[in-house]
Structures are given as structure tokens and as C-alpha cells.
Amino acid sequence: MIKVENLGKYFDNIKAVDGISFEVKKGEVVGFLGPNGAGKTTTMKMLTSFISPTFGTASICGHSIIDDSLSVRKNIGYLPETVAVYSDMRVSAFLDFAAQIRGFDKNERFKKIKSVVDVTNLNSVFNQEIETLSKGYKCRLGLAQAILHDPPVLILDEPTDGLDPNQKHEVRALIRKLSTDKAIIISTHILEEVESVCSRAIIISKGAIAADSTPEKLRSQSSFAGAVDVTFKAAKIGIFELLKGLTSVSQVNQLNNQRYLLLPKSGCNLLEEVISVSTNNGLTISDITVDKGRLDQVFYEITTNS
């Protein structure tokens, strides 16, 4: 539903976005990851046709962002990074305004507003002035406005920024719920968010795509992926050498008397080998964990190397 082809935006000499291409299908939640200034917001502004690209193009539900901006905007729900809402209005009036702009008649508006207010938990502030709302409520109001017309494409720029942990949890649950029949892009620099809601992660760095994969696959690229952290019941001399001698080990670090961290050679399964060598030598394991890889590590490696 979203198709991006060699999209680029230069601001004078700054290459904010430098030729990116990707596609997002219905049912996918794509996490747009990248350090500040990577070009996430600029890409989203082009996709919503708020700014026009320097080169390349993109389409939303088959409509070109360049030639058919109006159809693009009809098919998109957008939460801008600034969480722009008219602060001089009441929540109810603001949602009614958004619903009018989306072309709903009076009865439909009532139903639509009621349903988004329920899903975004805005009931308690429904008649309040937006000015007086906390950041969390404003953000949810922005989200309510974005999903009001049940658009096939959702573009959310840092939707959980500034929310407390409970609100974050709620918003993520909401995004997961919405994802079944939509194509969703959310930008974030919170890595746990990607793991909890995204089916796919695109890491962009300096305006270009540095990685495009599932969170699990990305995680397994980390140098810690498959590392074994093992603690033995009793300290014994010679354990270090024994572990060092394992065929799939690349490095052993002794963390304290009984605890060791083993890094695997790539593609090898360390866990089985550690367990079998322990039982063969009469060593009792009191604790053992396998690292699934760390997204933050991968993120760091990818975005600082390029």
C-alpha cells in the first residue's frame, strides 16, 4: 500500500533523505529507526505530501504523492512529530472539526468520534480545552484524529514520545490492534517499541536505509547474539581452559570466580556444547542464559559505522 522509489530531499546543501526505496504491505507495522537527524520526519512529510521531494517518488494506495496529493491525504492518517492540535479548541470541537474535514455527516461524525474517543481513552477530557491537556493526552488526541476516518495507511511520527510507561503500553497495544487491516509506519528511537509492535524494522542513517529486516533477524546480527552466560555451583581451577577449548567458542571472559561469559563463533550453537562439557566433567551449573542479541547493539553498530 506504500511504495517508495528512490525518494530524496535536499535542503540547500543538507541531504536530509538521500534516495530511499521500500514497500509496505497491508498488515505490516514498519518501525522507522534512526538517530536524530537521520531523515525520518522528512520522509514522513514527503509521504503525506506536505513537502515535495527533490527527486524520486512514492505512492500511497496507488496514488502518487506528487500528482495526486489530495487522494494521498484522503488515504492517510498522520500524527506529526510536533503533535499539532489547535490548542484554543476543546477536544470535542477539535475532533468534530477533523471529522467534518474528512467529509462525514452529522450522524457519522457522532459515531466516529465516540468510537475513537473510546479507543484512545479520551472520555475524561472530552470537554476540556486542549491547552490544558498533558502531553500524553495531546498525543492521544493526535492519534484519535489520525485514525478517525479509518485510513488504510497510518503514518505516526514518534507516537509515544513523552508518554508515561502505562500510556506507552496502551498506545502500542492500540497500534497492534489497528495493524491487521492497515499499513503502518511509525518512527521512533525507542528500540523496545520496535520489538513490541513492529513486524519489520527499517534503520535509516544519514538519509539512507542501512538495514531493512525483521527485529529478530536484526537482533541476531549483534555480536552478542548466542552468547552464553554460565554460572557454576562451585569454583574450580581449569574451567577457564576447558571452556576455551570448546570448538564453537570465540572468546571467554571470566566475570567472577564461578561466572563466565562465552561468545560464539558465528553460526555455532554454544549452549549444547557448554552443557555437555559440564556434565562430562562433573560440573554443576547453577544458572545459564543465552543472549538473543541486542537491538541497541545492532543499532549502534549500524548507525555509527556508516
Binding site: 512529510k45 503525506t48 505530501s49 506536505f50 513537502i51 489530495l70 491525504r73 484522503k74 492517510i76 498522520y78 506529526p80 510536533t82 503533535v83 499539532a84 492540535v85 489547535y86 490548542s87 484554543d88 479548541m89 470541537a93 472539526f97 477533523a98 467534518q100 474535514i101 474528512r102 467529509g103 484524529q145
Partner: protein, 245 residues
């Protein structure tokens, strides 16, 4: 059309809930009162008409309207709502027209609040009601032109001061080229007659003065309406390019 009405209603609601409109109305009423009664000696002249009141209108609006128009787009830019607005499925000119009409309605309301003046004149003597009505219509059209220029400059820059000054200067120039002393000055330059007519034809003052005489000529109304539409259209074009700045 529907979108223009939606934007218009939102703007009006915003005006009503903000103090700016009330300040504008109070300023307008006080200043027009001071000018009419003190400076022009409304009662001393002893004529049953509103000439002295309408005579001040072009100069009064010169200060008051840029103060309203400078906020039109700068507020949306400052709060970031411009991004929300233009990622909604509406056309730029629709937003422009909605905002323009709402501000025009506010300015017109302030003008209509001077209804006590014609009532007073009516009480004092036998005024020509037609001339008074024409005076109001001319003032409304004139304010529309000032405001349309203001819309254009508000769309062009996010700086309110620049917007105010450019609107002020442009309105002033378009007034003066039809103002008696300046017309004399142009005549002194021995310019060809057709050019002189063209210059003064392009002035707000000429058309405003025509209507003040009580004659609603189609040509004067056409001038004002065209001027408003063209300014708004140009403002929409420039906003299309500068909305993201």
C-alpha cells in the same frame, strides 16, 4: 465550498474564544469615535450625514487590518497546526478563503457596531439613507481589499512584523495614488492622460470615494471583488510553496 465553510466556522470559534477580536472592536470603536467627533467636529458641522466618519475609515483600517491579518498564518506556523491542516484533504485556497472570510466577518462586525451613528444622524436631521448604506458597503469592500493583501503577506512570511509593515505599505500606496494631493502631483509630472487615469483607476481611494457619493457602480464593485480574489489566489500560490518553512 464545504471545506471553506468548515474552516470559516473553526476560525470564527477561535476568534470568539480569544481576546484579540474584542480588543480590535474596542480599538476600532474608540478610534473611529475620536476621529469622527473630536477631529472632524461631527456635531459642529451640523450636517446630517456620515461623511466625516467614512472619511476616516481608509486611514483607520490602514493600522487595524494589518494587525489582524499578520496573525492569520503565523499562528498556524508557530504551533505547527499548518502541517495538520495541509495534511487534511483540503485545497490550499479553501483554507485561505475560509480564513479570509472569517477575519472579514470580524472586521465587518466591528463596523456594523457603529450603527448608533446613522441612528443619531437620523434623529438629528434628514440624511440620505442610500448614501449611508453605500458608505457602509464601500467600507466593507475596502476592508476586504486590505485584508486580502494582508492574507498574501501573512502567507509569504512567518514574521508578523514584516507581514504588518508590507501590508501597511502596500495598502498605503494603493490609497495614495488616488488621493487628491498625489493625483495633483502626478498631473504636475505632465504624464499622458491615459496613464493618469490608469494610475488612479488602480487606487482604492478612487473607487472608495465613488461609492461614498452614494452611487453603487458595477465597475467599482468589480474592481474590489476582483482585487480580493486575485490577492487571495496569489496568497494561496505562495503558501503552497512556503507552507513547510
Amino acid at each position: 465550498m464545504k471545506n471553506i465553510a468548515i474552516i470559516f466556522k473553526r476560525e470564527i470559534a477561535a476568534y470568539i474564544s480569544s481576546p484579540i477580536v474584542y480588543i480590535f472592536i474596542v480599538f476600532f470603536l474608540i478610534l473611529s469615535g475620536v476621529f469622527t467627533f473630536k477631529l472632524s467636529g461631527f456635531f459642529e458641522i451640523g450636517q446630517a450625514d456620515l461623511k466625516s466618519f467614512f472619511g476616516w475609515i481608509p486611514w483607520l483600517y490602514l493600522f487595524l487590518i494589518p494587525a489582524i491579518s499578520m496573525r492569520l498564518w503565523s499562528e498556524e506556523r508557530k504551533s505547527g497546526t499548518i502541517e495538520l491542516l495541509f495534511t487534511f484533504p483540503i485545497k490550499i485556497y479553501e483554507a485561505m478563503a475560509g480564513k479570509f472570510l472569517a477575519a472579514w466577518a470580524v472586521i465587518t462586525s466591528a463596523l456594523l457596531l457603529t450603527f448608533t451613528l446613522p441612528l443619531t444622524v437620523e434623529y438629528l436631521g434628514k440624511p440620505d439613507v442610500g448614501v449611508m448604506i453605500a458608505g457602509y458597503i464601500g467600507s466593507i469592500l475596502l476592508s476586504g481589499c486590505y485584508l486580502a493583501i494582508g492574507c498574501f503577506f501573512s502567507a509569504s512570511t512567518k514574521n508578523q512584523v514584516i507581514s504588518f509593515i508590507f501590508t501597511f505599505v502596500n495598502c498605503l500606496i494603493l490609497l495614495l495614488i488616488g488621493f487628491e494631493p498625489f493625483v495633483k502631483f502626478f498631473e504636475g509630472l505632465h504624464l499622458p492622460l491615459w496613464l493618469l487615469t490608469q494610475i488612479s483607476n488602480f487606487s482604492f481611494f478612487t473607487h472608495f470615494a465613488n461609492i461614498q457619493k452614494g452611487i453603487l457602480d458595477v465597475r467599482d464593485i468589480f474592481f474590489f471583488v476582483t482585487f480580493i480574489c486575485v490577492s487571495i489566489y496569489c496568497g494561496a500560490l505562495i503558501l503552497e510553496n512556503r507552507k513547510a518553512e
